[in-house]
């Protein structure tokens, strides 16, 4: 039994909208949270602008525990917490929670790595001008690392499109859900093809925008 495409297009458009919503909300939340954790990691490391061994060790361990867990396992493992926070374990909102958790720590690592790549000389220059540690992080490190950071966020965005599809297959909404319920369970190849095409197009658009923005910032 195959779907009636005259009606089914509406479902595809709705699902795409849901996916974009999930991904953008997650990106916004994890960008803010991940930035905070990443800055804290950078600042508290040994020889950093505000060294603190305990804070660094805790954050670092947390990231190293969460990052290697496959996303599908993370969804399941986090589901009790998800239910506590969101109130339910299915639907778009329920999918967003584990995505934010995982993405936050991914973003944190991206932020830390790119800040570390900034030439220590400009940090020294800012210190010599009497800048405080917080000021250095916000007005020197982040602007100096912005180009690579945008590329890192783009990488995260693409990963989130992937995550959203995975979340969709286990009760979240969006394109993944569509592929699961119509494409997989009803063996409809055309639905499979269309959903894959939608995901590919979304990824292309994300990467293109990210590259354009980074190029503008890097001036090359």
């Amino acid at each position: 039994m195959s779907v009636d495409w005259n009606e089914f297009w509406v479902k595809v458009v709705d699902a795409t909208g849901e996916t974009v919503y999930m991904v953008l909300i997650t990106l916004a939340l994890s960008a803010v949270l991940g930035m905070a954790v990443g800055l804290a990691l950078y600042a508290t490391r040994k020889g950093g602008v505000l060294p603190n061994r305990v804070v660094y060790a805790v954050l670092n361990a947390l990231i190293n525990v969460i990052r290697p867990v496959p996303f599908i396992i993370a969804i399941v493992a986090l589901s009790p917490v998800t239910r506590g926070v969101v109130g339910t374990m299915i639907g778009t909102e329920a999918a967003i929670f584990p995505m934010v958790v995982v993405a936050t720590f991914g973003v944190a690592r991206i932020v830390e790595t790119n800040l570390l790549a900034v030439d220590t000389g400009v940090v020294e220059a800012a210190r010599s001008m009497g800048a405080s540690p917080l000021r250095i992080v916000l007005t020197v490190l982040v602007p100096e690392a912005l180009g690579p950071l945008v590329l890192g966020f783009t990488f995260m965005l693409v990963a989130l499109i992937d995550f959203s599809a995975v979340a969709g297959t286990v009760g979240g909404g969006g394109v993944g859900n569509l592929a699961m319920t119509y494409g997989y369970l009803r063996f409809d190849t055309s639905v499979m093809v269309v959903t894959v095409a939608v995901l590919i197009v979304l990824v292309q658009i994300a990467q293109l925008l990210g590259n354009l923005l980074a190029r503008k910032i890097l001036r090359r």
Partner: protein
């Protein structure tokens, strides 16, 4: 203006699994007078940069005290120290400009830190750029400038907040000789026109001779010699100092060059110093005439140090041996003579 008292800085090191410490700066005491240009020279690893960074407490000394404009930086909290740093500009070998900011943005940055409004900061940054001759490049980015221009931006940025002291860490070492000259001219103007006290680090004695009033020579973390630039050049005491001085004056033939001179000149070679107070031209020619000696110039290196002549001339003397001996004895009485 700046006073260092018994400053020592050690870094922990691990040598195998035995912990020890490395003395980068070892019991250094020195005074930099207000309005002077003070040079610090030394070979790589001598501790020059560490010492400079101690002056604005970017590096906290392990012991000893640092006084800038009468204030003991060690007695201040970090917040007050940051305020003091705003009155001390710093210039770096690799410029360390912010790539994310325009030239004007770079120069305006320390003004923002000092609490100036955006407009005021841009205005004063514009003035600093005019001083270094880069007002036409305000909207460019650092990568669009040459090395010399970048360093002038670095100097403008360091001067934007009208500091009393400028610390320069190898400010010209990444530049070619002509650009080095331009940057040194600029630093001279900074000192003369703005009255800024300058401490500069270099491994080129030529830089010292061009713009410094006083110089300290460092080796293995210690200041092995210091004094007025002319005196140190004319009478270096420490072996490190003399090698630095020779590298700048090129006035005494050595090694292979000396062998070649010996092969070319059959007569006796004599090196006579030329100083502001030692043997001078007329004296030498009068003596030579008195002993009936002829001479040829084999080697010479005489230049200006602090606008006074300094260097030496190596002569090949021709004439009877006893006349030469008598001539040398008399010359030695007047100043130093080295028989090459």
């Amino acid at each position: 203006m700046i006073e260092l008292r018994h400053v020592t800085k050690t870094f922990p090191t691990r040598d195998g699994n035995r912990k020890s410490e490395f003395r980068a700066v070892d019991d250094v005491s020195l005074t930099v007078e207000r309005g002077s240009v003070f040079g610090i020279v030394g070979h790589s690893g001598a501790g020059k940069s560490t010492l400079l960074r101690v002056i604005n407490y970017l590096e906290e000394p392990t012991s000893g005290s640092v006084l800038v404009d009468g204030q003991d930086l060690g007695a201040l909290g970090e917040r007050r120290r940051r305020a003091v740093r705003r009155s001390i500009g710093m210039v770096f070998q690799q410029f360390h400009l912010f790539r994310s900011r325009t030239v004007l943005g770079n120069v305006a940055y320390p003004l923002g830190l000092a609490g100036h409004s955006r407009r005021e900061a841009r205005e004063r940054a514009g003035e600093a750029l005019r001083f270094v001759g880069l007002e036409g490049h305000a909207r460019r980015y650092p990568e669009q400038l040459s090395g010399g221009q970048r360093q002038r931006v670095g100097i403008a940025r360091a001067l934007a907040t009208s500091p009393k002291v400028l610390l320069c860490d190898e400010a010209t070492s990444a530049l070619d000789p002509q650009t080095t000259g331009e940057v040194l001219d600029l630093l001279e103007r900074v000192n003369a026109e703005l009255g800024v006290t300058i401490v500069l680090i270099t491994h080129e004695m030529d830089v010292v001779r061009r713009i410094c009033d006083r110089v300290a020579v460092m080796a293995d973390g210690r200041v092995v010699e210091s004094g007025g630039v002319y005196d140190v050049f004319a009478r270096p005491k420490h072996i490190v100092t003399s090698s630095f001085v020779r590298s700048a004056l090129h006035d005494v033939p050595e090694g292979a060059a000396l062998e070649r001179l010996r092969a070319r000149h059959g007569g006796r070679l004599v090196t006579v110093p030329v100083t502001r107070d030692g043997a001078d031209g007329p004296d030498l020619s009068r003596l030579l005439r008195r002993y009936g000696l002829d001479f040829a110039i084999a080697h010479a290196g005489v230049g200006e140090v602090q606008h006074l002549p300094l260097g030496s001339v190596t002569l090949e003397l021709r004439g009877p041996d006893d006349a030469i001996d008598a001539f040398l004895t008399e010359l030695a009485g007047a100043g130093e003579v080295a028989v090459a």
